[in-house]
């Protein structure tokens, strides 16, 4: 075995660092999935009847649907009746502020390196933390409130801002959209809601941190972001889960609405437990994310760094309805060991002079499979639509796979669509060159991979970019064969 391979062996067996779990008293739904469970969840959350009806309708739709099989991933289907659809840490009901949040829960986040103490945060990031099925805390509410910005848990939004929720819930991703989105609509338990009023530039990053703690529990959260005309917001999402032998399901929905001249940046650093090095356990990350550029000159930008999950099935998309609207998708997807990722985007050009840009960087190591799947659709009235797609794959070792599935669908002849794709390998000569300057192999790999992913990492807010760089290095250290 060469030295590089040995380092690979040592390093890829490194433990997932967020794999711990804690025991807390939980308020749980019984196992299984049926109408009664949905009623149970809705009652638990003291929801208005229209929302219960909406859930039940979604459930009916879902029952008639089949789990999709078109993606390039292989896995044993989950027994959805063996899951629990609600689990919440018992704490003083609806804490009004951080002081009322159970210190034990705050400690969980401290351990994850996320401080909920507003004074402690250096840079302004307001954060909503979701543990299993519920939001446990939201910071900086008051500061934001002065600007008319609403940032709170989904449950709270249903109670406090029912008109907004009624208007926008399911407006971008209908409850009938797809198998996982419909399931989410039926059983979602919490998530974040954010509303930026007209003309307001949100002064800090808004962020949701998702953590799955309980076993046998699916996490089904919804995030809804509404940016009114001429507003701006940058939103971050992070996530981790304990290391467990059985697979866990995460089926989230994120909807973004962007009014005229508004801009929404949505960044994700996904670090769900990927399974162990033999492919045991790990999160099934089946997520539906979509934004609509509803108004003219609006812009939605998705940036994702996907390092975790056993299986990722995720296509953050943009519907470019407003004239001159812009959609962007920047992605780094890393797979190692037995991970499988099928991820990409959809850019749907409806308005005139709409533009989209796709930059996808896949990195595969170990025995993993990494697929880019992207669609660029130009509708009939979308005059002068422009798309540029760049899909690169980096292979480490020769047991992994990289695949690209671009779909281009053009109904207006004035469209200009460009697609570039490359596949490369980390060269032994690149590593030797670094070694010769005194750089150890694992650091050389980190350097090369971060260089490769730079265009995407540059899109992330500063603090997040540094985290993401470290994460990339950690996921891949030494995986050169």
């Amino acid at each position: 075995m060469s030295k590089d391979n040995q380092i690979l062996e040592n390093l890829t067996s490194k433990e997932y660092e967020h794999g711990w779990s804690v025991n807390y008293e939980a308020d749980e739904a019984p196992l299984g999935l049926n109408e009664d469970i949905i009623r149970w969840i809705s009652a638990k959350k003291e929801e208005p009847s229209w929302l219960l009806e909406w859930r039940l309708k979604a459930f009916k739709t879902w029952q008639a649907m089949k789990e999709p099989e078109w993606s390039n991933v292989n896995y044993r289907k989950m027994d959805l009746q063996a899951l629990r659809y609600y689990s919440a840490p018992k704490q003083s009901k609806n804490p009004k502020n951080l002081k009322e949040v159970d210190p034990e829960l705050i400690a969980i986040y401290e351990r994850l390196g996320i401080s909920l103490n507003e004074q402690k945060r250096l840079q302004g990031i307001a954060i909503d933390v979701v543990l299993d099925s519920v939001s446990v805390a939201t910071t900086f509410k008051e500061t934001l409130g002065k600007l008319g910005i609403i940032f709170c848990s989904f449950s709270e939004a249903v109670k406090e801002h029912p008109d907004l929720i009624k208007k926008y819930l399911g407006s971008v991703i209908p409850m009938t959209d797809n198998y996982y989105a419909s399931l989410n609509a039926a059983v979602f338990s919490d998530g974040s809601f954010c509303y930026i009023p007209k003309g307001v530039r949100c002064p800090m990053e808004l962020s949701t941190y998702f953590r799955i703690n309980a076993a046998n529990t699916g996490q089904f959260e919804r995030t809804l972001i509404v940016a009114d005309d001429s507003s701006y917001v940058s939103y971050l999402e992070g996530c981790t889960a304990p290391q467990r032998d059985e697979n866990q399901l995460h089926a989230a929905v994120v909807e973004i609405y962007a009014g005229a001249h508004s801009e929404v940046k949505y960044s994700t650093v996904q670090n769900w437990f990927p399974g162990d090095k033999n492919g045991k356990g790990g999160i099934y990350n089946f997520v539906t994310k979509r934004g609509i550029c509803a108004g003219d000159h609006s812009k939605i930008s998705w940036t994702q760094v996907e390092t975790g999950s056993a299986i990722t099935w995720k296509y953050p998309s943009c519907i470019l309805k407003g004239d001159y609207s812009i959609g962007e998708f920047y992605s780094v997807a890393v797979t190692n060991n037995y991970q499988q990722a099928d991820t990409g985007t959809k850019m749907i050009h409806i308005g005139k002079n709409t533009k989209s840009r796709i930059v996808s960087k896949g990195i595969s190591a170990g025995k993993s499979q990494n697929s880019y799947r992207g669609q660029v659709q130009v509708m009939k009235r979308a005059h002068n639509a422009r798309n540029f797609s760049q899909c690169d794959s980096l292979l480490m070792g020769n047991q992994c796979g990289a695949h690209t599935f671009p779909y281009i669908d053009i109904a207006n002849p004035s469209a200009k669509v460009e697609h570039e794709a490359t596949t490369s390998k980390i060269g032994e000569d690149q590593i030797f060159y670094c070694n010769q300057r005194g750089i150890a192999t694992e650091d050389a790999v980190a350097l090369i991979v971060n260089g490769y992913a730079k265009e995407v990492l540059n899109q992330l807010p500063m603090e997040f970019a540094v985290e993401a760089q470290k994460l990339l290095a950690l996921t891949l250290e030494g995986s050169v064969g």
Partner: protein, 254 residues
């Protein structure tokens, strides 16, 4: 400083180095010349620790210690530097970033604190002046799209930053224009001291007008077949290699 004894190395079973002997002392400059394919770059790579080459026999001491069992990065950290004949491109990584990583790892090995951004930048400024390299080049992706000459100049800039004990320059002169050759050579000369040594691999006497060698060796078919002083280089320039090849081939026992 460097003592090579009966070094044999092969690649994929083909012997390339077939008994190299060479002694380099601190303060010396050695030039290695020889026809294409004679094994000059192979020797440089083997000394730097490239894994593809298998050392089948021989011994190398560097600063009195066994060299061949060390990893490439440890050799570098102990002060061995190779300016590549064909520098490698690393997309998305600037020379600055690359060197900062390298220098701090070297410093760590030497038990020194990492340089903070301010100190690092002032060191960069100083060394940039030495080889007259443009700041803009250093913020671009390492070697990506660099011209041949820019790559070579960048190699010597890296050498200046890392302050090696033994520098091996593999055809650093090829690709440099006349002015650049003078500037880069002057840089190399300024970096020399009685504590460092330099091995220059070259095809041309021209370089040796600037970097004056104490010894000149001719490598042919994996062996040093002739050694002399700087006059040997002049003689080669004039007569080529045929006379040496004939000498060797007539007495060869292959």
């Amino acid at each position: 400083m460097l003592s090579i004894k009966n070094l044999h190395a092969s690649i994929e079973g083909t012997p390339i180095l077939r008994g190299i002997n060479l002694e380099v002392k601190a303060g010396e400059v050695h030039a290695i010349m020889g026809p294409n394919g004679s094994g000059k770059s192979t020797l440089a790579s083997v000394l730097a620790g490239r894994e593809e080459y298998e050392v089948t026999d021989g011994k190398v001491l560097f600063q009195g210690k066994e060299l061949l069992s060390l990893s490439p990065e440890d050799r570098a950290r102990k002060g061995l530097f190779l300016a590549f004949q064909y520098p490698i491109e690393i997309p998305g990584v600037s020379t600055t970033n690359f060197l900062r990583t390298a220098l701090n790892q070297v410093r760590e090995h030497r038990g020194q604190e990492p340089l903070d951004a301010v100190k690092f930048l002032s060191l960069m400024k100083e060394k940039m002046a030495l080889v007259e390299i443009d700041q803009k080049l250093l913020s671009r992706s390492l070697n990506e799209g660099f011209s041949g000459g820019e790559k070579k100049r960048n190699e010597i800039f890296q050498m200046a930053m890392l302050e090696p004990v033994l520098s091996i320059l593999d055809e650093t002169d090829s690709g440099l224009d006349i002015d650049a050759l003078r500037i880069v050579s002057n840089g190399v000369n300024k970096l020399k001291s009685d504590k460092t040594a330099t091995i220059v691999v070259t095809h041309y006497q021209r370089l040796l007008d600037y970097i004056i060698p104490d010894f000149v060796h001719v490598l042919y078919r994996g062996r040093i077949v002739k050694s002399g002083t700087k006059e040997l280089a002049l003689e080669l320039e004039e007569k080529g290699y045929d006379w040496i090849k004939e000498e060797v081939d007539s007495t060869a026992t292959i």
